[in-house]
Symmetry: C2
Subunit: 428 residues, 2 copies
């Protein structure tokens, strides 16, 4: 076993200490752009703080000897040019935008990790065989405009200017105007679309509590789960809570409570990685002394297998209908959002498993229940994702937190993977 | 049997036709005061429309030969003076105010029914042995100010000026100012408190669907149900709907859905007249892709027996706690409102049963799940209530409706009861 280990245990410790200090410096520095007055970070696409962050990052990349470039939507690339300039680039990175009152790790960690990895590799090993790049994607969250994955989608050809021309934010600012104020837009900089990418690797916090709960350092993402979102409207009859005997009621909320129970039972029966959630529920008229006449609620269901997901959603539709019938309620259900599962690249996953194994870092294959930029890149190149633990699974919140040591382990695994792909010429 | 019938079948038919026409005339006329622009009637305490209605009613009462009088909170009395002025009065009536966008029957019907009964009795039989009165109570609903039963409560001594001195409506108008603008208040008119009432009889629409469902004309109220209102706050943990496996969730809404199911099962098991309702439920953060971290809801429970009700509420507290424990949720429950059951007067109920039986009018004893002015009067005198059917049980809505014939039957029974008490000197 010893022969296979490129990095000795002493070297691993030294590197982890180094990354631990560095990653917190970069993340704390990034967190100074667009702090939210009420805590956390609100760094929305094409705002002043967003532009400052991207420009400062470009300077930092240049300081690390990377060749920087913005594309025409504002994605920022830092390139460590390789010997073979014709070979497709290996890209790592994530998004610079946040949700409203988000945390300092979601997105930012993937960019910071890439920066540290490339800086270290360049200092230690100089020019790689093929170009390694870090990308700070302009947008992923869809928090300012109703359009998510704007950065990665523009690179892979799933997003374009036609799609955003009529979009406005909540202050009625047009997407195009906000973009142009930052110096981006059609004809302003290089076209986003790329066909020279050899692989995309995204490092991210888990945003779930599985790694923490199981005491595992690295999650190698097997598949990004498919999603279905359903909306139901259940109609009964509003009645006086005092004068309507139990047997005469057509209580919409009581019906919904049965449906929620049935949903959970079936989701548990089918088992992981299926998750199903009623996250939103409105009751009408919603007053203490009136039997609810109407209830509107959503179901969010996710699984790594689209067929399992579709079968589950058909079951949900049928089961909810029969509960409604039994309770003399009317029900209408519609699917208003669907996203197919995205499997990550087999060889990249195997390399990551191997890197972890060789360095005695605990890891597990897992499904990503959340969506990520990686699912966009998968359309055009081998793609992989690597998770580090999130404390209590909290994300999209100022309370988002990952231990510096856990962050450092992620950087180390990324570094080693980029070394193999960029310097050792590992094939994909 | 024939000997016992004071009113012949022919006379009954003639009277019903007469009351049917009359009652609709009075109700339609009352509905012209404070019509709501969006349908129905919004006649709130001490508003212009309310004052016009009371003043017009006073004129109409005087026109029927009744001696009218306002007390200092704005209750309007119309008296048909009896031979024995020392004998306590028999009073019938209900409230003139409505909820926001209410119907034209709730309250108004009891006043109109009393008016028709007294008018008929006076015309047919002249002066009664003891004084019969009709009252148009100023307020019952608590719709303008947070104070219900202001009219009846002032008469029986359960309400007083001290209680309302700081109260404001939603436009920040003080209760006292609104009252004085209408010419009422301390020292303005006769003191509301009375100790000369021999009995109170309230005729009202059922506001439930039991009589309609069972095809019964008259409900003789046995007891006005006691009420308990509980409020619960359930705390779990807000988590990402995609990244949190089912077994790691502490889903507040899922817990509440179990509680709603348990509540219904137990209420059905205990049986009528118990009713239990979760009418209000708020879910937090209430977004489709987040596992609910918090839920706040109410339970409204009613029964004719206060002990059964208390036992049920203790069960609810214990059961909800154990469901919360099982689901790793925290729960806090408090009782924020309680009202004891109010039994109606035995002899009056028996007289009503008898009147219905003698006139071949179908009737049943029933619990009133709703609160009424009658429960205030019960503190000071023998009290009874009589229900007529409500179409589909709908009330507090412009859709409130009762067939004119059903309304007429109620007037007929009231008339006969007042005859017995006022003219025949039936004892209580």
């Amino acid at each position: 076993m010893e022969q296979n280990v490129r990095i000795s245990p002493q070297e691993k410790e030294r590197l982890l200490s180094h990354f631990e200090t560095q990653i917190m410096q970069v993340l704390n520095w990034l967190a100074t752009f667009s702090p939210d007055e009420e805590g956390g970070i609100t760094r929305l696409l094409y705002t002043e703080g967003w532009l400052e962050a991207q420009q400062a990052l470009a300077q930092k990349m240049a300081g690390c000897g990377l060749k920087t470039e913005f594309d025409h939507v504002g994605n920022l690339f830092g390139k460590l040019l390789g010997e073979d300039l014709d070979a497709p680039s290996i890209i790592t990175g994530s998004h610079i935008d946040t949700v409203v009152q988000g945390g300092m790790y979601d997105g930012a960690y993937g960019i910071a990790a890439g920066l540290l990895a490339l800086d270290y590799l360049q200092q230690q090993f100089g020019k790689p065989k093929r170009t390694l790049e870090i990308v700070s994607l302009c947008e992923e969250e869809g928090s300012r405009f109703p359009m998510a994955y704007w950065g990665s989608g523009s690179i892979v050809g799933k997003r374009n200017f036609e799609q955003i021309v009529h979009l406005q934010d909540s202050d009625e600012v047009f997407f195009t105007d906000a973009m142009q104020l930052c110096g981006f837009g059609e004809g302003m900089g290089r076209d986003s679309r790329r066909s020279d990418i050899g692989a995309f690797i995204e490092v991210h916090i888990e945003q779930g509590a599985v790694l923490e709960e199981e005491g595992i350092a690295i999650g190698v993402v097997d598949t990004i789960a498919g999603q279905r979102r359903l909306k139901f409207e259940v109609i009964g009859e509003s009645n006086h809570a005092g004068t309507t005997p139990m047997h005469m009621r057509r209580d919409a909320l009581e019906g919904v409570s049965m449906m929620i129970q049935a949903l959970r039972r079936e989701a548990v029966r089918i088992g992981e990685p299926l998750v199903a959630t009623v996250g939103r529920l409105l009751v009408l008229p919603n007053v203490p002394n009136v039997v609810p006449g109407k209830a509107i609620f959503t179901v969010d269901a996710r699984h790594a297998d689209g067929q399992v997901l579709d079968r589950f959603c058909r079951w949900v539709m049928q089961e909810f209908s029969s509960i409604a019938d039994e309770r003399q309620l009317a029900i209408q259900g519609t699917e208003w959002f669907r996203e197919e599962p995205v499997p990550m690249h087999g060889k990249l996953k195997a390399y990551m498993d191997d890197v972890c194994g060789k360095m005695s870092i605990s890891s597990k294959r897992m499904v990503s229940g959340a969506g990520h930029d990686a699912q966009m890149f998968e359309h055009i190149c081998p793609t992989a994702m690597l998770f580090v633990p999130s404390r209590r699974g909290i994300s999209h919140s100022p309370e988002e937190y990952t231990e510096p040591r856990d962050l450092a382990v992620g950087v180390l695994v990324l570094t080693e993977l980029l070394y193999r792909l960029g310097y050792e010429g590992e094939e994909l």
